[in-house]
């Protein structure tokens, strides 16, 4: 509906003015109809009174057939300007005398008609008997115009228009003033509601302007506000305690984490000294007494030497793993292609006698910390080289693709692969899926890679089949 957008103030005014207009119109119409009929009646009454007088006076003139006398009598009608024509017919119904003298006789009825008056469109006309005693001497014809009636019509129309106009003006002014009583509280309520929803301040209250239905609406509205206010406060309070609890818990966790880190750090730190001593003294022993012991003795001391060395590697890896928990990442835009090429050239140096093909696709730049990202590629590429060492032909493929908000890098080899049943152990610290005899390692490399990627907001996952190679994927968010 078109008036959906009209304000309540306008709607109220329209209703008031429409009702008022209809009432004024109906009232005027009733008055008009009443006046119209009563005026008609009085006109009819008038003309028959004149007719009665004329016919009474003209009996003698007809009886003596004196046209002069009849004319004289009819001329008395001058006193009534609305009577435009009159004529007298004799007992036979023939025209005897006409008024006014110069009236066109053809316009008059030729002979007398039926007794009685009737209205035509423009006139009131009719016949009346001229009687003396019980003898009808003739018939009188009278014709009156309706100018008086039409004049009244006009006057009425003007009055109606004036009343209508005046009442519209008065109604407009009055309604403008009176509608405030209804619309003002509603508008005030609407304003308050709008202000509250915009500013989200539920402590504001609507002011009650009246005690009617709008007043109770205001009360209900305020009640609702109180409830919302209370609930919001409760929610805020709850949120704050929750936040505080989260904060406390986080602090506790941070402390615990720090303790754990410094523990693992000092443990590995302190483990270094004995490891160093074991390895070094075994070496000293071999140097100083190597020529004094037999082969079995050398084999045994070499086992000590080798294990001392391995312990050193383990401690170093553990240290760099625990270091990752503490360092702050300073991310920059990195050319992953350059990093991969650099790492590959460095690692491939020691594998030059092998038959290795590197398929290096285009790699999108990453937004990451350089040193740790280098570490990721060193670990992944050296794994790919390590687990393909028994292959006559090695193919390593490195590629990447952008997916929604992240870049997924991928390194694929055709090496020994791993059993997907043990996938959950793949990224654990010191977890290995191959024996030392098969492939050497400490089991920290992939754990470090996972930790680096997690710190970058990325992920790592893999797919493999035993003896069919392994594929490692990792994702980094695009910043």
């Amino acid at each position: 509906m078109a008036n959906k957008n009209i304000s309540i103030r306008n709607k109220l005014m329209r209703i008031i003015m429409l009702v008022c207009g209809i009432v004024v119109l109906i009232t005027c119409a009733v008055f008009f109809l009443y006046d119209f009929y009563s005026f008609r009646e009085s006109t009819l009454q008038n003309i028959s009174t004149y007719g009665q007088i004329i016919s009474n006076n003209s009996t003698a003139a007809i009886a003596f057939e004196s046209k002069e006398d009849a004319k004289e009598i009819l001329s008395a009608l001058k006193a009534e300007p609305h009577i435009v024509a009159a004529s007298i017919y004799d007992a036979n119904g023939q025209l005897f005398c006409a008024y006014p003298a110069d009236y066109d006789i053809n316009q008059l009825p030729k002979t007398a008609g039926a007794i009685g008056y009737h209205f035509t469109r423009t006139a009131l006309e009719g016949f009346q008997p001229i009687v003396q005693g019980s003898k009808q001497l003739g018939i009188l014809y009278l014709k009156s115009d309706l100018n008086a009636l039409y004049g009244r019509f006009k006057l009425y129309t003007i009055i109606v228009v004036l009343i209508l106009g005046l009442s519209f003006v008065i109604t407009f002014l009055l309604s403008k003033f009176l509608q405030r009583g209804i619309s003002a509280p509603i508008l005030a309520l609407a304003e308050t509601a709008k202000a509250i929803s915009e500013q989200k301040d539920y402590s504001v209250r609507a002011i009650k302007l009246s005690d009617d239905e709008v007043g109770s609406l205001t009360d209900a509205f305020n009640q609702m506000l109180t409830e919302i206010h209370e609930q919001t406060e409760m929610l805020n309070e709850f949120n704050q305690t929750l936040e505080q609890r989260v904060k406390n818990r986080t602090t506790e966790l941070e402390v615990a984490n720090k303790e754990l880190e410094s523990f693992s750090y000092s443990v590995s730190h302190d483990l270094r000294a004995p490891a160093r001593a074991i390895h070094s003294y075994a070496n000293v022993f071999l140097e100083d007494y190597g020529d004094k012991i037999d082969e079995e003795g050398k084999r045994l001391i070499n086992i000590v030497l080798k294990n001392g060395q391995k312990m050193g590697f383990l401690i170093d890896d553990l240290l760099s793993f625990s270091r990752l928990g503490r360092i702050e990442l300073t991310k920059t835009k990195l050319s992953m292609y350059d990093i991969v090429s650099g790492v590959w050239n460095e690692l491939y140096k020691t594998e030059e006698n092998r038959n290795v093909t590197l398929v290096l696709k285009e790699l999108p730049d990453a937004y990451a910390e350089k040193t740790t990202m280098q570490q990721v590629w060193v670990n992944l590429i050296s794994n790919a080289l390590k687990y393909t060492k028994n292959n006559p032909e090695t193919v390593i493929e490195i590629s990447a693709e952008e997916k929604n908000t992240e870049i997924i890098y991928c390194i694929k080899d055709n090496g020994s692969g791993f059993d997907m049943r043990y996938y959950n152990k793949l990224f654990g610290v010191f977890q290995r899926l191959h024996s030392q005899e098969e492939f050497e390692g400490t089991g920290v490399g992939l754990a470090i890679v996972q930790r680096v990627l997690e710190k970058h907001g990325g992920k790592i996952w893999a797919d493999s089949k035993v003896n069919e190679g392994a594929t490692f994927y990792f994702s980094l968010p695009i910043n």
């Binding site: 270094r272 000294a273 160093r276 001593a277 070094s280 003294y281 060395q309």
Partner: protein, 148 residues
């Protein structure tokens, strides 16, 4: 004791590390004038000729001090702090020996004016090489600051 000429003072509580360090220096023919003290307390006594070393001539200062950080009683940092404010010792080059480059004390050592630090490698070959290199550098190449 009072007349020994000391070129390198090794402050190291771990006897194995001390022995291996001396062995490495010996291999590079640098060990002739190494003196080993077992903790910070003894190091300060030695340098300032006090306590057990009261007979020593205090003018005979070592050319370089190899200082372990983690020691009982007076640790490396505290020794460093004393040496770097005393006019008699503040010009002696001091090299910190540490088990790990992650050691949070290293930053503090630099602030206190340490000249260099060396991470003691776990592996014997690299340990030997490190000790030999640093001995050579500080004894032969580095300009002595005593002369100025």
């Amino acid at each position: 004791m009072e007349n020994i000429e000391v070129e390198v003072l090794l402050v190291e509580d771990n006897p194995s590390d001390a022995e291996l360090t001396i062995r490495a220096l010996k291999k590079s023919n640098l060990a002739n004038k190494v003196y080993h003290v077992k903790d910070g307390d003894e190091a300060l006594d030695f340098l300032f000729a006090q306590g057990d070393y009261s007979n020593r001539k205090v003018e005979n200062m070592p050319k370089v001090i190899l200082l372990d950080l983690k020691m009982p009683k007076i640790n490396g940092i505290e020794v460093l702090r004393v040496l770097k404010v005393d006019a008699r010792t503040k010009k002696i080059p001091i090299i910190i020996l540490t088990s790990s480059k992650e050691d949070p004390d290293i930053q503090q050592c630099y602030r206190l004016g340490v000249n260099s630090y060396v991470v003691k490698p776990v592996h014997f070959e690299s340990f030997l090489k490190t000790v030999a290199d640093l001995g050579l550098y500080w004894l032969l190449i580095n300009q002595e600051s005593k002369n100025d």
